[in-house]
């Protein structure tokens, strides 16, 4: 269990600490001895060729995939031990949008809220920020690919998460959608959030220092 005594709090280093991470697929090493730290307000962009293990790294950071060796600590505790305590502070947008086509836009957002730590932001505000106003009662499967992606991004607003793990968040978004997503990221960072993401898109985030991690 988590101790929250005064000593513990002083020692705890908030954020994500990764050390000596090793991951292989089908006997081939994707990366070895990977270490980095992520603190409040920091953005880490993972770069690399297709198949270099970007998605695998992100899935390991989420705790969906197991690493061969190495440790991932969240506020100084291994994420495997924290389990749901880690997941309630983290939001993940993967390759799949993770939305149900047979539910309406509003129902999808409501469910996302219930599964995470719900934020105080109400439905209309979320829809407005993602430019999905008026789509509340539309079934998600009737949306275009870009609109589905925006709906997936609504999870970031519907829940309070300190760490965002975004795998190619700009996929199928139009220029306006990319701008919206960039705004979400920079406002999250200025509020002390952390972001790990992959992207093939050159981002324009004024005033944000981008740390790059190159996988080869």
């Amino acid at each position: 269990m988590l101790m929250s005594g005064p000593d513990q709090q002083q020692r705890a280093e908030p954020g994500l600490t990764v050390s000596g991470l090793h991951c292989s697929r089908d006997g081939r090493d994707l990366f070895k001895d990977l270490s980095f730290r992520l603190r409040a307000g920091e953005l880490l962009v993972v770069e690399g060729r297709n198949g270099s293990g970007k998605t695998s790294l992100l899935r390991i950071l989420c705790g969906i995939r197991m690493q061969e060796s190495g440790s991932i600590n969240w506020d100084d505790s291994p994420i495997g031990e924290l389990g749901p305590l880690y997941h309630q502070e983290m939001a993940y947008i993967g390759h799949h949008d993770g939305i149900k086509g047979d539910l309406t836009v509003a129902e999808n957002i409501q469910l996302a809220k219930a599964l995470g730590k719900p934020s105080g932001t109400d439905l209309q505000t979320i829809l407005k920020r993602l430019q999905l106003s008026g789509y509340n009662e539309v079934l998600a499967r009737a949306l275009s690919a870009g609109q589905k992606r925006r709906l997936a991004l609504s999870r970031l607003l519907a829940t309070v998460s300190r760490l965002w793990i975004l795998d190619e968040p700009f996929t199928s978004l139009d220029r306006r959608g990319v701008e919206i997503c960039e705004q979400l990221i920079s406002s999250h960072l200025t509020h002390g959030g952390m972001v790990v993401m992959t992207s093939h898109h050159a981002m324009e985030l004024p005033g944000v220092e981008i740390t790059r991690l190159r996988l080869s």
Partner: protein, 227 residues
Amino acid sequence: MNDRSLARAFSLLLRRDLVINFRQRSECVNPVLFFVIVVTLFALGTGADRALLLSMAPGVIWVSALLASMLSLESIFRSDFEDGSLEQLLLSAHPVTVLVLAKVTAHWLVTGLPLILVAPLLCILLGLSGEGLETLILTLLIGTPILSLVGAIGVALTVGLRRGGVIISLLVLPLYIPVLIFGTSAVQMSAAGFPVNGQLSMLAALLALALALAPLPTAAALRMSLS
């Protein structure tokens, strides 16, 4: 996260699955149709011997219910796996076992409960009535949730495979044997006028065991399938 938000997540997930099933009705209609057709085929195939049909009735109905429930198992996690919702469930702020329980409950309400509702009609077809019929409904009521709970483990193990169908039946059918044995024997005994408390208690114990334990391996298997 507190208990209230957990209860809310449970009920919302349960409602979500019911709404989705209602919007694509085939999922809940297919198992019932399968159940009705198989039992009818048995009735047609055994000819006009009423005594034979009556003595076979418990077994026929129970085996058909097993197969119908098995056919529908894949739908518990398949679509969630394909559209990425399963990842989100595993990464939710709540224990995965509780969410698994919500999904299995929804699955039983959609595929198990309808079987129980049509079973009395099929009993009439097979000539089973009175005490035997009541006991059959009771055993189905206790037994079919066990099928969904145990089946969920099999589905969770095979959801990552492209063709999990046959493997699920190989994994799950042997585990269904105790339910089948106690279910049919209760019906036969009660039709013959004997007390069946023993069999019903065994079934209830199996249900309690499955309720408490099955979500754990299911959650672990889902993690394995996704990693």
